[in-house]
């Protein structure tokens, strides 16, 4: 087996073998240690009462799994997560499309200034901006109630707590969609637009009939990556509401984080996170199928 390969590559040298061997070994060791083994550990650990602080590891069988599927808080948090991810993704895509189209227009100057401004929230550290928004939502010192001339206790009112988390998330993330979609628009074939304009298609028609269908792959990319990352959101919840009021803003990842690292129920948290993992994997697979189909047509 070795010989013909060597003949094909007469210049394969000793240094190549060493370099290749080292890098491949390092890669395999690293990815097996920090990704493959952890997935097995999470699955295995979900059958144990596992507390790393007490050094506890007792076999429980299916108890953790039964607890997951009979837990009201788990279902509540999954419901919240689906709602949160769907709303945040819709706003991100719609705002992104609207602002990217406006920026794409020939009537607009200083495009790069807008782009730089819109992307600013995305690059700032999430924990820090979550604190800024915590104060903005504060009913006593906060900016939002002053601007709206309202007296809403955003973070402690069960009607508004999730809205507050959504506002922070949308504010932080819309700029990414603007930049990606604008980049997508610039790569579209210009002659289609010129032809459409000659034929008398208005701006809305051009957007509806040309831009939207042509941008479908880019839009799908944003929808998929957004859903995956919103299913894992927990920092805004941790800083703003800690899941409250009641269980109004419990997101699945926040629940896992709380079970694992405030209560140190590693076994139960493992079962929870494995469920979330399967959910995200299914979502990813499904979205690849959808985007694959759209490429064929």
């Amino acid at each position: 087996m070795n010989r013909p390969a060597r003949l094909k590559n007469p210049l394969r040298s000793r240094s190549e073998v060493i370099l290749r061997g080292t890098v491949v070994c390092a890669l395999v060791i690293f990815f097996v240690t920090f990704f493959v083994i952890p997935i097995f550990m999470v699955f295995g650990g979900s059958f144990f009462r596992w507390n790393p602080l007490k050094g506890q590891l007792n076999f429980l069988g299916l108890d953790n799994w039964k607890r997951v599927f009979t837990s009201d808080l788990f279902w509540r948090s999954m419901g919240n997560t689906v709602f949160f991810a769907a709303v945040a993704t819709v706003f991100r895509v719609v705002l992104g499309l609207a602002l990217a189209s406006a920026l794409y227009s020939r009537l607009i100057k200083h495009k790069s200034v807008y782009r730089v401004l819109y992307y600013l929230p995305t690059i700032t550290p999430l924990v820090a901006v979550a604190f800024v928004w915590k104060f903005i939502f504060d009913p006593r010192i906060g900016l939002l109630d002053q601007l709206l001339n309202t007296n809403i206790n955003w973070l402690f009112d069960s009607r508004y707590a999730m809205v507050a988390i959504l506002i922070l998330t949308i504010w932080k993330d819309f700029g990414y969609a603007v930049i990606i979609l604008l980049g997508g628009m610039y790569s579209l074939p210009q002659d289609c637009y010129e032809a459409a304009e000659v034929d008398g298609a208005g701006a809305w028609q051009r957007f509806r009939r040309l831009t939207l269908p042509l941008l479908k792959p880019t839009i799908l990319f944003i929808v998929i990556t957004s859903l995956i990352s919103y299913f894992q959101t927990y920092i805004p919840v941790m800083v703003l509401t800690q899941g409250g009021p009641g269980t109004q803003t419990y997101l699945a990842s926040y629940l896992i984080y709380e079970e694992a690292f405030s209560k140190y129920n590693f076994g139960y948290a493992s079962a929870l996170s494995f469920v979330l993992f399967i959910f995200i994997a299914l979502l990813t697979g499904l979205s690849f199928k959808v985007s694959g189909k759209s490429d064929d047509t």
């Binding site: 240094s15 997935i39 406006a102 227009s105 607009i108 903005i136 997508g184 493992s270």
Partner: protein, 273 residues
């Protein structure tokens, strides 16, 4: 006439969105120069009435935020240098060498990009405990030595390096280490810059992992320190505004310096992804 109305309305929409985008930053910055009395006052003003920089002095001296700032800077720089180098090396090997299992290895690496962080964090924590690495920077850096994102980007970038250059170097007697460091790395300049920027920001943004790993106060990173500070002094709004500003302002300056690279890098990663 119709064009003028259109251009004006588009501009108004864009400007309103820009204001909404930067207003939180401006408000935080202004508030960080107010006294606590002024922040808590009934009549609120946007600009500070009695301008004071005392909040910053307090936070930096009494609570050692300068230390946390330097720790974060050190951590982010190390992560950036290490991951960019390993990504370039792995990208080069996976792109330019033919060997058995190459495609499988690359697919494995890509698949790990889909594994959510919340899933791996529990077993990784147990591993660090098992290795006895809790409360060390080793535990922060070693699990991030390779990044799937960086390897993926670098492998893409390597495809644009012509094989002829590498062959020519080999015929001249250069070994592979020389070829990689002197010929391949300079060609990857653009990718190195854009991946560095992202890695640096992501490391600066890291929260949960350092929070779990680092126990002693003098090793703590900035975003964790910010959260701990807020738990302890939840009513010291002025101090909290200043502390938050310290975590955000350097990133904003960094962003403004490299803004062109950012926009290019983001678009490139999406088109290729």
């Amino acid at each position: 006439m119709k064009q003028k109305v259109g251009s004006a309305s588009l501009n108004i929409i864009l400007i309103v969105c820009s204001v909404l985008t930067i207003l939180p930053f401006l408000w935080m910055l202004c508030s960080s120069f107010k006294t606590n009395a002024e922040i808590n006052a009934l009549a609120q003003t946007f600009l500070p009435q009695n301008f004071t920089a005392q909040n910053y002095a307090d936070v930096l001296q009494k609570f050692d935020f300068l230390r946390y700032f330097l720790n974060s800077l050190f951590y982010a720089l190390v992560i950036t240098v290490v991951t960019v180098y390993t990504s370039a090396l792995a990208g080069f090997v996976l792109c330019k060498y033919r060997f058995k299992g190459r495609q499988m290895l690359f697919t494995l690496i890509l698949m790990t990009m889909m594994v959510p962080g919340v899933v791996t964090i529990i077993p990784r924590y147990s591993m660090m405990q098992f290795f006895g690495w809790l409360d060390t920077y080793r535990a922060l850096i070693i699990p991030s030595v390779f990044t799937p994102f960086g390897i993926f980007m670098m492998r893409q970038a390597c495809t644009s390096i012509p094989n002829e250059i590498l062959e020519a170097a080999r015929i001249d007697g250069a070994n592979e280490f020389y070829t990689f460091h002197r010929i391949v790395l300079p060609q990857l300049r653009n990718s190195i810059v854009s991946i560095s920027i992202f890695q640096f920001l992501w490391a600066w943004d890291d929260y949960l992992w350092p929070y779990l790993i680092i126990r002693s106060g003098d090793k703590q990173l900035l975003s964790v320190a910010l959260n701990l500070f807020s738990g302890r002094y939840s009513t010291d709004y002025a101090g909290l505004f200043a502390a938050t500003a310290i975590a955000i302002i350097p990133v904003v300056i960094f962003y403004i310096i490299f803004q062109k690279r950012f926009v290019e890098g983001v678009s490139a990663s999406a088109v290729k992804g």
